[in-house]
């Protein structure tokens, strides 16, 4: 197969896969309609905030004549101050996210992308600017951005475990990191450190497969990482279960501690569960930061 035809095939595949992903994300987002988040004070914006009496110094153009015509006092119509936020999202593209413990379940990456895109759709609808970390897709607003995000999210990485990238992180904005966090946690700590330095707060979402939580293996087994860089052989996998689970819990605890210290939010999500609670959690986590 020539590289050209290969490219075309992949492009078509992508073109076919994108609308379903986007549609699924829209569908998920439709379940949550919270409206735009105002700043709870008068300022620039489209939404009505309050009427107030005319002060000295207000120009005649600012008077709301419809309201003032009903009495003897002139009123000025104030609007709520609205400001667009920049949200940067990182979805782990690494090979480990492509694991699934059951053929009937989608890989972790699917769920991570769906959540990321649905969140983006929600934010874009709220007028925020959404972009991806890594600098390729800078934060922008508008519906067209959703399609650009979808296209960018479809990229798969080749490495075994992902490292969060901090390039393109908008200062004083918000950040969302979605990964299984199975790789080196030092990279995550570094990334959060960089984000903190730029005044960015945000949320960590750990997406795991139920098989990773259960460790339902037994017998003589050779475990390999998804890209094959790591290899481990055991005679009786069942014996390892408790120790594996202990390590997993320890890792989760470390992430939770990291989030707590840096003022971020952290939660865990299993692909065996529905996507909506996770999306709701993400949305609330971001809203708290606005």
């Amino acid at each position: 197969m020539t590289p050209q035809s290969d490219l075309r095939a992949r492009a078509e595949e992508l073109g076919q896969s994108l609308p379903p992903l986007l549609a699924a994300a829209e569908h998920l987002a439709a379940a949550i309609m919270l409206g735009e988040h105002g700043r709870r004070r008068a300022g620039m914006g489209d939404e009505f905030w309050q009427y107030r009496q005319v002060h000295a110094g207000d120009s005649a153009r600012m008077i709301d004549w419809r309201r003032s015509g009903r009495g003897d006092v002139q009123y000025v119509r104030e609007r709520e101050w609205q400001a667009a936020q920049s949200v940067s999202i990182w979805v782990d593209p690494s090979a480990s996210m492509r694991f699934t413990g059951d053929k009937a379940r989608a890989p972790k990456a699917d769920r991570a992308r769906l959540l990321a895109l649905a969140l983006s759709v929600l934010l874009l609808r709220g007028g925020e600017r959404v972009g991806l970390m890594g600098g390729l897709t800078p934060p922008r607003s508008g519906r067209a951005q959703a399609e650009r995000l979808a296209r960018a999210l479809a990229q798969d990485g080749a490495e075994d475990y992902g490292r969060p990238e901090t390039t393109g992180l908008a200062a004083h904005g918000q950040a969302v990191l979605i990964s299984d966090f199975m790789g080196d946690l030092a990279a995550v700590e570094d990334a959060i450190g960089v984000a903190m330095a730029r005044g960015v707060r945000g949320a960590l979402l750990q997406v795991l497969d139920p098989a990773e939580e259960d460790f339902p293996f037994d017998g003589r087994t050779i475990f390999e990482s998804m890209a094959g860089s790591l290899r481990y052989e055991t005679q009786r996998a069942g014996d390892l279960r408790s120790r594996y689970l202990a390590r997993l819990a320890e890792r989760r605890e470390r992430l939770a501690t990291l989030a707590r210290l840096s003022g971020w939010q952290f939660t865990q999500h299993h692909t065996g569960q529905g996507a909506q609670p996770a999306l709701l959690w993400l949305y609330r986590a971001l809203e708290a930061g606005f």
Binding site: S96, A211, E212, R220, T221, F223, E224, M226, L240, Y244
Partner: protein, 916 residues
Amino acid sequence: MWTLGAIGFTSPLVLGALLALPLLWILLRAVPPAPIRRRFPGVALLLGLKDTDTETERTPLWLLLLRAAAVAAAIIAFAGPVLNPSQPKVTPDLPLLVVIDGGWADARDWPRRIERARLIVEEAGRSGRTVAAIRLTDTPARPEFQTAQPVLDRIAGLSPLPFDPMDADWIAALPEGGFETYWIASGLDHPGRSDLLAALQGRGPLRVFETARPVVALAPVAFKDGAVQIRGLRQPAGTQMEVDVAARGLDPAGIDRELARATLTFATGKTETEAALNLPPELRNRLTRFEMAGIRTAGSVTLTDDSLKRRKVALIGGSAGREGLLLLSPTHYLRQALAPVAELIDGSLVDVLKASPDVIILADVARLTAEENNGLVKWVDAGGLLLRFAGPRLAASDVARMEEDPLLPVRLREGGRALGGAMSWGSPRTLAPFAETSPFYGLSVPAEVTVKAQVLAQPDPDLAARSIAMLEDGTPLVTRKALGQGQVVLFHVTANAEWSSLPLSGLFVQMLERLAVSTRPALPEAADLAGQTFAPQQVLDAFGVLQDPTGLPGVPGEALATGQPGPDRLPGLYAGEDRLIALNVISPETSLAPAVWPANVPVEGLEAAQEQPLKGSFLAAALILLAADVLAALLVSGRLSGNLAARLGLVLALLGLAPTEGRAQSGDDAFALTATTELRLAYVVTGDMRVDGLSEAGLRGLGQQLFGRTTVEPAEPIAVDIERDELAFFPFLYWPVTADQPLPSVQAYGKLNEFLRTGGMILFDTRDANTPGGTSAEARRLQLIAAALDIPPLEPIPTDHVLTRTFYLLQDFPGRQNGTIWVEAAPPDAEQAEGMPFRNLNDGVTPVVIGGNDWAAAWAVDERGLPLYPVGRGSGGERQREIAYRFGINLVMHVFTGNYKSDQVHVPALLERLGQ
């Protein structure tokens, strides 16, 4: 063939491959199960963990054992194992003599004995040996060695005989030359058995076949301590066993019924047990026999004769009003003598006559009123025994002076005489020995019995014939005359010690016994019976069933007195001149002794151990083990996830549970609900799968026809086990009779009789097309089954029976065959009324319908409603099937509507239809 215990191997060399098993052991130990490769992101967390247990690097021990067992099973399978390989013949060229005991004890499992004998003879026939078969109860006759076929024909027709084998007589009749003997023995010892055994062993090898089933027998009952004592015997002694004994006799209507029941309990390790049955005299006097319930041998039946009967004796004293000393009372000694052995009645003569006593004793009663006189004459005429004693009153009266009184045997001289008193010459007289014609013949006369006074008889021509006891001077002491069917006996002395010392002696009691006043002892002495000939009234066959003795010769008393039945004296009830004697298989002295065989005689059970190749079983075991190994290997290597294991477990569980019978697990309530929520036709389970399936299909077909044609809309038929299930739910039972059906238990009979009494109906179908005379195996079985059922007299169905018109007008009642059917007999006084086409017959439903027309086969349909079996030929056959359905519908209608169609209201309509 090489044998190992009960298992032989056709190709034992293959077993050598078992030596290779250790090799497999080493091989398997060396090769651990292959690892699985898994992609798993969590591997990052596993890095650095160590395995705690390195044992599993090798195959686990249990898996190794499993595999070794699988291979071993396969190797053994190919070595050709055979269970119970046929034993090599010791001397295949000798002729074979099959000896069958054939006594009463064999009756308990006679078919199995005959089957075993048949197998033996057939096998001998296959190996070309000549065979002879003898039954030791036969009269000895030298047997001829023949080919197998005629012997087979002969033994098929043999049946046991109700007495002990005559082993000793056969010794002389054994065939010439050497032969091998197979002895099918009853397990009991008989006189002469060891001699015959020695004789047989002298001729060639001997092999014995015995059953372990105990022989149970009933000893003759005795009356002791106011109760009937029942004694049971068994051999060998086993664990605790209970046997019901039914006491049968005539009910007041003269029908043979069970009158009482006792339970004999054999304690563990005991061969004898006793039970007492307390019965009122009325009932006890009617007893005719005792039977062990459910055991069918002549030994389990004991007939009763006079010995159990207690005479009813009325004592009338002449001086009832006198206040005297007790010892002077005329009846005191009689009372003492008779109280233990007879029922005594007191009262006035007129009252006593109404109680119909067997014996009336008048002690010194001279005058009777005309009413009393007539009553007594009539009573004696009908068979009563009047026993009179003389005394002062009789001596003083003028009764029978001039002419003979009907109630006195002789004319009496006035005054009597006194001997040995102060005013007389003579001394008290003693008794003369009894004459041969006297009923007292044989009794010894004690010297101390003396007579001081007596009444004297007038000399008459027949005085000598009437005297049955005399004093030494020849004067009669006891006289007797027959009157009608009864007799009058006069003792010429008083019944107290006033005139003689006779009432004080033991002779007095014996004389009363001889006169049948008191109860006879159980076993008559040979001298008692000598010279008499006894005619058989009833005889028993070896199965304990009473047979008609017509054509059997009388038996001399001496032979009866031996107490042992034989070919010329079958066990049964024999009637002599004045007494009934029961000859039972078991006499009071009989004890059952086990047959003991010498150590060098091989003893086998009756069950022929069939050769059974085990190759298939072993191969199946190997396959199952290999299948288990597949699962185990998956389990060990971790490829068997929990979910899959659960599913496999479920499948295995289902396989294991599948063949269990649904009915067995459902409780009584479930059965009751099934039986009663809808109307169901029911059939009795026979145990024969084919017959049961046919019954179900037949009732299904009949049910469909009923559903289509009538308002009776039955659901699927239901199988009924009469031992276990409640019968009250069903109006109607179809009972196909098979030749090998087990007899119902006592409880089941109780339920069946209750069912019949409360309006249920049973259709018995022998399916044998009414073989003439009821001689088919099924018919004989039906006779056995129905013997204990409460079935009224039967008759072939009359043309005006209500069954002919309960729904359809029918005159034939065919199934696949067309024979007569039997229903309850019409009352004898049923008469056809003027202008009525039908008699007004039974006021109710006939409780049984018996026939052999194989109705179920004619009714049977498959799941699609098509007939299962052809009936007749062509359209005529289809017509017959239609009539069979109509019979079934009529029958069910009859069950439900009873005699409704006998109602006169319908007569005009029926007449009109009959006219067409």
